[in-house]
């Protein structure tokens, strides 16, 4: 069969790059209840397929997490990308910014 599989089609929902307010909401409150609009953004960001997807590796229990990326399958070792974080919230924010760039084509100019 030829043609694009449905899972490879771009999602119907697209992130409006001007909505940096949603990014700020996530930065302030990465866990728990989010606004409906932010939840849609997160659902999109968290739907990326495994090959090449971001993850974090806990390098020191409860103290240190390193940014990493899956390879093509979950049977291969992940690649450590370099940045190391002192909290999971910091790691969540770093990945959020990377995905913002990927899905909007624009960098998120918020530290």
């Amino acid at each position: 069969m030829t043609g694009q599989r449905s899972s490879e089609r771009p999602p119907a929902y697209r992130v409006d790059p001007s909505r940096t307010d949603l990014a700020l909401e996530f930065k302030r409150h990465p866990y728990g209840q989010h606004s409906d609009e932010l939840q849609r953004v997160l659902n999109l960001f968290r739907s990326d397929p495994l090959p090449g997807n971001y993850c974090v590796v806990c390098t020191r229990p409860h103290r240190e997490w390193a940014l990493a990326r899956f390879r093509q399958t979950s049977r291969e070792p992940v690649d450590l990308l370099g940045p190391v974080f002192g909290s999971l919230a910091e790691a969540e924010w770093a990945v959020f910014k990377l995905r913002w760039r990927k899905h909007t084509g624009q960098a998120l100019e918020i530290e």
């Binding site: 866990y31 209840q33 739907s47 590796v57 409860h62 969540e92």
Partner: protein, 752 residues
């Protein structure tokens, strides 16, 4: 990197019994240290109650031991013989029906008598080569000759295969045809050749080599064999004839009953529809050459003749004549024992572990549960360790392989154990995982290192349950520990000596015997504290002949990571339907008043008291608790967290049950479980749906018994807050104290 790991030959022991520990030093440490410890709390996070273990200083097993790396022989197959009838084979025909699931990887052996690597071994084998083509492989120990069929096989279709060899002439033939031809199929014609080798009369001796199905064998040392060249997929009716039969007879050769001219040369015909619950592959041929099913292949699988008129193998076994083999099946690592420990007669019941340490960082805890002596209770309350659930999650990969995992859990966080398991599939799978061929993993076993059945790991399963033992120790309550597998074997006699039984945080998996025992305990006046969520949910079975092996099928509904294939929801071990207990007519609400409704892994919430909590019947529960809001604290952000249960009178919540409190304020990550709604629709999340909540209930049973349920996995994570002085701890202690008192509860049935 994981430096050291181990497992024990049993999870549950009693005083006087001996437990054997098996250890592997993965990075080559020459020595390691072992100490027996009693586990109190496994939560080592800085903001948690703190990791607590107590060394058993005088344990005879404590000491230094030589290290070694131990190998694992994973992958399922059938092994037969050796046998004189096989030795008489000179010319032969191999035939089988196959349903490959991973054709085109490395060469996979369908069946044969082959020893050694596929490129240098000896013997004969029917195989699928690396280009997905059937082939006959012949080898004399030095050279290998192949006859390859030109047509590549597709995955997940049934094919008839036949390969023959005439030792007098060297003539070989190979035939393949789809059972059900489809439009677009290539033309399948037999192929033939002349082999220059004499695989059975020259080269190394073949007399010791077993016949194997779904793999071939290589020497494992000390006269043992291990599997290699594993086939992924289903195989049905593998047969061996001592004659080169013409390919045109393929239909007759694979027919049952075994008649016609080919029957005279039959050596063995394995019928996988026989003795499905057992461990044997039965031979219906003249020699009775039964085989052994190695490493828990999945039986009771639909065969090529499945009609869909039967949905369970017990109705029409001949339609379930296939076994599904996987390269990553595992029952028993079969490691050598490193040390043993006989449980002292006076050892306190509890959760223990052999703590293994090597090098600077290497550490592992091998947990085990010390029960009181059989027929005795040493405390009024028993903590029932959910070993069935622990096994279901054992070594799971689903928290990064499940496509929806990140949407539910947030960013994927990988611990060293995860990185290790990603590449070490020989440590076996959980009942949440997919095999490499994409099929669901129906089996789990405890005879292997289980890296998430450990303290200091994610707060789930055993490690979350250690919050309960920590709390019991903190309030000074004596308790015994019992476990699911023992409950399955011993029934209600394990429970009946206790005034109160306390579950763990997630008693999700129950066999029929376990559920029957728990119901009987309540019928007899027992008291049950169900301190968890998503309990009593899946129907499983333990293998009768293989201790520690547990089977599950995922039915047409239920929150699940894979779904059984059509017709394959019946358990091979018992013939019972698997899937949700609710669909076997026993919803969790019938037992404990509440059942699964929703899950979310972002943040927990609190309960709000409801009018029933002020009913005099509930007065003892809330003694000293003045707050309306309960559990707005804890390691999960609230006592109502992770997985939630609610009442449902339609499926069994008793009419006199008191709905004491419900949680509220859950996020939009929590959505209604798919089994609880007829159709998906907007507004199913924790913000919009009133169904997304945890219900706290209490009700009395007959003969003075009672049930208290919290409906939340997160409950135990709030017990230690504020040094155990909080309303969740108070409520739990109030219930426990009353439940262990001899005063019977008055029956309140029919009062509402």
């Amino acid at each position: 990197m994981i430096e050291i790991l181990g497992y024990a030959d049993r999870l549950a022991v009693r005083p006087g019994m001996t437990i054997a520990f098996k250890v592997s030093c993965e990075t080559g440490a020459a020595r390691y240290r072992a100490d027996i410890v009693r586990l109190r709390c496994g939560d080592d996070r800085p903001d948690g109650p703190g990791f607590r273990e107590e060394p058993v200083a005088d344990a005879a097993a404590n000491g230094d031991y030589p290290g070694r790396r131990q190998a694992i022989d994973c992958g399922s197959y059938v092994r037969v013989g050796p046998a004189a009838a096989f030795d008489a084979v000179d010319s032969f025909t191999l035939s089988a029906l196959i349903w490959p699931t991973l054709p085109g990887l490395d060469e996979a052996t369908v069946m044969g008598r082959w020893s050694g690597p596929a490129e240098t071994g000896f013997g004969y084998a029917l195989a699928i080569d690396g280009a997905s083509r059937p082939c006959l492989r012949l080898g004399d120990g030095v050279r290998v000759w192949r006859l390859v069929h030109p047509v590549a096989l597709a995955a997940r279709r049934w094919y008839r295969l036949l390969a023959s060899f005439d030792s007098a002439t060297g003539a070989a033939s190979l035939h393949c045809e789809p059972v059900t031809p489809q439009w677009g199929d290539p033309v399948f014609r037999p192929t033939a050749g002349r082999c220059p080798l004499r695989p059975l009369s020259s080269g190394p001796r073949i007399a010791d080599v077993p016949v194997a199905v779904a793999a071939h064998v290589v020497e494992g040392g000390q006269g043992t064999w291990r599997g290699a060249g594993h086939f992924n997929g289903k195989i049905e009716a593998p047969r061996l004839h001592a004659q080169a039969l013409p390919a045109e007879q393929i239909g007759q050769i694979l027919s049952t009953p075994l008649t016609g001219p080919s029957a005279a040369s039959l050596v063995a015909a394995w019928d996988f529809s026989r003795d499905i619950p057992g461990t044997k592959a039965r031979d219906i041929g003249p020699n009775g050459l039964d085989g052994d099913c190695i490493n828990l292949p999945t039986r009771a699988m639909t065969g090529h003749a499945w009609t869909a008129e039967a949905m369970n193998w017990t109705n029409r076994p001949h339609e379930y004549a296939a076994i599904h083999f996987h390269e990553d099946d595992l029952y028993d690592c079969a490691w050598e024992t490193d040390f043993r420990w006989t449980i002292p007669p006076d050892l306190k019941s509890g959760i223990y572990a052999a703590r293994l340490r090597c090098g600077n960082q290497g550490e592992d805890h091998v947990p085990f549960f010390v029960l009181p002596p059989r027929g005795h209770a040493r405390a009024p309350v028993a903590f029932l360790a959910s070993t069935a659930t622990y096994l279901a999650y054992a070594n799971s990969h689903d928290h990064y392989e499940d496509p929806v995992a990140e949407r539910c859990h947030g960013l994927t966080v990988l611990a060293p154990a995860d990185l290790f398991l990603m590449q070490r599939r020989d440590l076996g799978l959980s009942a949440y995982d997919h095999h490499r061929d994409g099929s669901g993993s129906c089996w789990s076993s405890r005879l292997r290192p289980i890296l998430n059945l450990r303290p200091k790991r994610a707060l789930w399963s055993l490690n979350a349950d250690l919050h309960l033992t920590d709390w019991l120790e903190a309030i000074g309550q004596e308790y015994d520990v019992i476990d699911d597998e023992t409950l399955h074997r011993e029934g209600v006699s394990l429970l009946e000596r206790y005034a109160c039984v306390m579950t763990g945080t997630h008693p999700e998996y129950y066999s029929t015997a376990m559920l029957t025992a728990m119901a009987a305990y309540l019928e007899r006046g027992g008291r049950l504290m169900y301190l968890g969520g998503n309990g009593f949910y899946w129907r499983v079975a333990w293998h009768d002949e293989l201790p520690g092996a547990m089977e599950i099928r995922r039915g047409e509904a239920g929150t699940r990571m894979w779904t059984s294939e059509p017709g394959e929801t019946g358990l091979a071990t018992t013939g019972e339907p698997s899937g949700m207990w609710r669909h076997s007519g026993f919803a969790p609400q019938r037992l404990v008043g509440v059942g699964f409704i929703s899950e979310g892994f972002d943040s927990g919430s609190y309960y709000r008291r409801l009018p029933d909590s002020y009913d005099p019947r509930a007065g003892f529960i809330f003694a000293g608790v003045d707050e309306e809001i309960l559990g707005d604290f804890g390691v999960f952000g609230g006592a109502a967290a992770l997985e939630l249960d609610i009442v449902n009178p339609k499926v069994g919540t008793p009419p006199h049950a008191l709905l004491l409190a419900s949680s509220e304020g859950h996020s939009n990550v929590y959505v209604i479980a798919q089994a609880e709604t007829g159709a998906n629709h907007p507004g199913m999340d924790g913000i919009e749906s009133p169904l997304v909540r945890a219900d706290m209930v209490f009700f009395e049973t007959l003969k003075g018994g009672a049930v208290f349920s919290t409906g939340s996995i997160g409950w135990a994570g709030s017990l230690a807050h504020d040094n155990y002085r909080n309303n969740i701890s108070r409520i739990t202690e109030n219930v426990l104290r009353r439940f262990i008192s001899p005063e019977p509860f008055p029956s309140s049935a029919g009062t509402r």
